[in-house]
């Protein structure tokens, strides 16, 4: 890990308007993210942890600039400075068209491997889609790369013509990861990538993500609620609560010496796979 900054989020604010009454007038707003700042370094994993509703998913969506497409009256301010090869660029004000070249660099892996893959498309089409959109590869070149990607994520290249329902949850998550890696991204934002998987499969996918990070020099923003998983994969961790980052720092420091009361509460509540811990806790 170098101290090279890849992404610089500054004072990010995201507000969703609330409409009410008969005329559905604007009656208020919900500030999902209340002015947060952090930086992502090249090759590191930044863990974003917090409970449901803390705004961690919204942060991920703000970075890849899809919030406006999801809710057009959302109010966003601040800066998401991406240090692209072609120069620094603030992603927030970009239109969909302008965003396109950077979308190839910043990809997402989603939580639910069941609903994040189109059931009517084959693996070949799913993983090849970003290549079709972002590159000028020929059909044959794309097919080659899809095969290569599938092998990279531990699936067989023979599976290209299968549909998502023919795979298990863990395999589907591997397909989602292959799709995210198709365009050779610099940053992968993974939103609860393993929380829908069985314990034994979670470990496989976590190890895979670490291997791929090493091989391709990826930077991860790893969004999750599971404290043990986040600790395992992250170099640094940001703890979120009510739209704010209450604490950010090296993973070990946060787990061994949490400073903020909320981090302490969260850590104390996490169950440990050790019966002795229960006795210590209950005194």
């Amino acid at each position: 890990m170098t101290s090279d900054i890849l992404l610089d989020v500054h004072n990010l604010v995201v507000k969703f308007p609330v409409f009410g009454g008969v005329l559905l007038r604007r009656v208020g707003e919900v500030a999902a993210v209340k002015g947060i700042s952090f930086q992502l370094h090249r090759g590191e994993t930044l863990g974003l942890v917090g409970e449901s509703g803390c705004g961690k998913t919204t942060v991920g969506r703000a970075i890849i600039n899809i919030l406006r497409a999801m809710s057009y009256r959302v109010e966003i301010s601040g800066r998401v400075l991406y240090k692209a090869a072609t120069g620094d660029v603030d992603l927030l004000p970009l239109t969909r068209q302008e965003m396109r070249p950077y979308r190839a660099d910043i990809q997402m892996v989603f939580q639910d491997p069941y609903s994040s893959l189109n059931p009517r498309k084959t693996v070949d089409q799913i993983v090849g889609e970003p290549l079709r959109v972002h590159t000028r590869m020929s059909r044959a070149e794309r097919a080659d790369r899809v095969r290569w990607l599938l092998e990279k994520v531990g699936l067989s290249a023979r599976h290209v013509n299968r549909y998502p329902h023919e795979f298990s949850g863990g395999q589907r998550q591997r397909i989602g990861i292959a799709r995210a890696l198709a365009t050779n991204p610099k940053i992968v934002i993974a939103d609860e990538p393993v929380s829908a998987l069985d314990v034994s499969i979670q470990a496989q996918v976590i190890n895979l993500m670490q291997d791929l990070q090493e091989e391709f020099g990826l930077s991860y923003i790893f969004i999750a609620h599971d404290l043990s998983v986040v600790r395992h994969i992250s170099n640094r961790i940001a703890v979120m609560s009510w739209g704010n980052i209450v604490e950010i720092g090296p993973a070990e420091q946060i787990y061994k010496h949490p400073q903020h009361q909320y981090s302490k509460t969260l850590l104390a509540a996490a169950p440990r796979p050790d019966p002795a811990f229960r006795r210590r806790r209950s005194g």
Binding site: E51, Q204, I206, N207, H232, A270, P275, R278
Partner: protein, 333 residues
């Protein structure tokens, strides 16, 4: 200790178009009075089907309990009539499910749903049912229960809904509470509260037992007295809580414990992994169900199903590595 529930040779099969799915295939399990027993397994291991079989809630068709005994206080629940099992449900054995969002009916108030359980099982006046509903909601920690009774489920947070579910399950003071992934959908801080609440409620009902079904070994470590590990429709290991975490016998349990990253202590650089995935339930191996993923599999494993043997006091394992209660052949690391 007296056994409250004894499951013997339970087999629950599902007859589907793609063949017979042996979801539960010969399960023996005892729950003692006052005990908290954890039933752990991954999806498809048969843990939920075991629980549903106890209350005879298996949808038929396609499912059917084809063999076994479920002895509750000496009575075989599989032999009694529909009316009798209905009396057992709620009064004697009750259940809490994973989804606090869907287990409550959205069109009835919380009060009506708590009172319904009381009035369905006992001849009491509406006022009495109301009084007891307020009482139980107070006990599970719902503030201002009188006014909250008039509200609908969507007014309650996920944690509060699960509290209401626990209230409904415990209002008739059953002897056994079956909790199927009761905290899986909840945030960690809320999860800790709900687990504490369940244990507290159990303590107040002397002799009551809990069967806690979960995929989360950490939750088991925090709450249970004993654990049973299920895989491929069979119990693979049963042990007192300390023994299971200190010295797991079965290679599957080993693998499960190795694949959990830790919150404290030193950080492993890589997680140990159980290779492959849970086998298709329609085509489970003939011998040991874990053989396709087991790093220690040897000659008898694919063809001969090992018996469940007691290798240490109270510590049972189903594995050929323990042929006659000898020393564990797996190095402990």
């Amino acid at each position: 200790m007296n056994q409250l529930l004894s499951i013997r040779g339970l087999r629950t099969y599902f007859y589907t178009e793609s063949g017979v799915a042996k979801a539960v295939d010969g399960v023996d399990l005892d729950i003692a009075e006052g005990e908290v027993l954890g039933l752990v397994g991954e999806s498809g291991s048969g843990k939920s089907v075991t629980a549903l079989s106890v209350l005879r809630l298996i949808p038929d068709p396609p499912g059917r309990i084809v063999a076994g005994e479920i002895l509750y206080k000496g009575r075989d629940l599989l032999k009694i009539s529909q009316d009798e099992i209905r009396e057992i449900r709620g009064n004697e054995i009750s259940m809490v499910f994973q989804e606090p969002m869907t287990s409550l009916n959205p069109v009835f108030t919380i009060g009506m749903q708590v009172m319904e359980v009381i009035q369905a099982h006992q001849q009491v006046s509406k006022d009495e049912a109301h009084r007891r509903a307020v009482e139980i909601l107070t006990e599970v920690g719902i503030p201002e229960p009188e006014s909250r009774m008039k509200q609908y489920p969507h007014h309650f947070s996920g944690g509060q809904r699960q509290r209401v579910m626990i209230a409904i399950a415990l209002v008739l003071n059953p002897s056994l509470l079956i909790a199927d992934e009761p905290t899986t959908a909840l945030d960690v801080t809320i999860q800790a509260q709900i687990l504490d609440l369940m244990l507290e409620m159990k303590e107040r009902r002397k002799g009551a037992s809990i069967l806690l079904i979960t995929h989360n070994l950490a939750v088991v470590a925090e709450t249970c007295d004993r654990v049973a590990v299920m895989y491929g429709g069979k119990i693979q290991e049963i042990a007192p809580i300390d023994a299971l975490f200190k010295e797991p016998f079965h290679p599957y349990t080993h693998g499960l414990l190795g694949s959990i990253p830790s919150v404290d202590g030193t950080k492993a650089r890589r997680l140990t992994v159980i290779p492959g995935s849970v086998p298709d339930i329609h085509s489970l191996p003939v011998g040991c169900k874990f053989v396709t993923r087991c790093p220690y599999a040897f000659e008898p494993c694919p063809d001969i199903e090992p018996p469940l043997i007691e290798d240490a006091p109270g510590h049972w394992v189903r594995c050929h590595l323990y042929p006659n209660g000898g020393k564990p052949a797996i190095p402990n690391d």
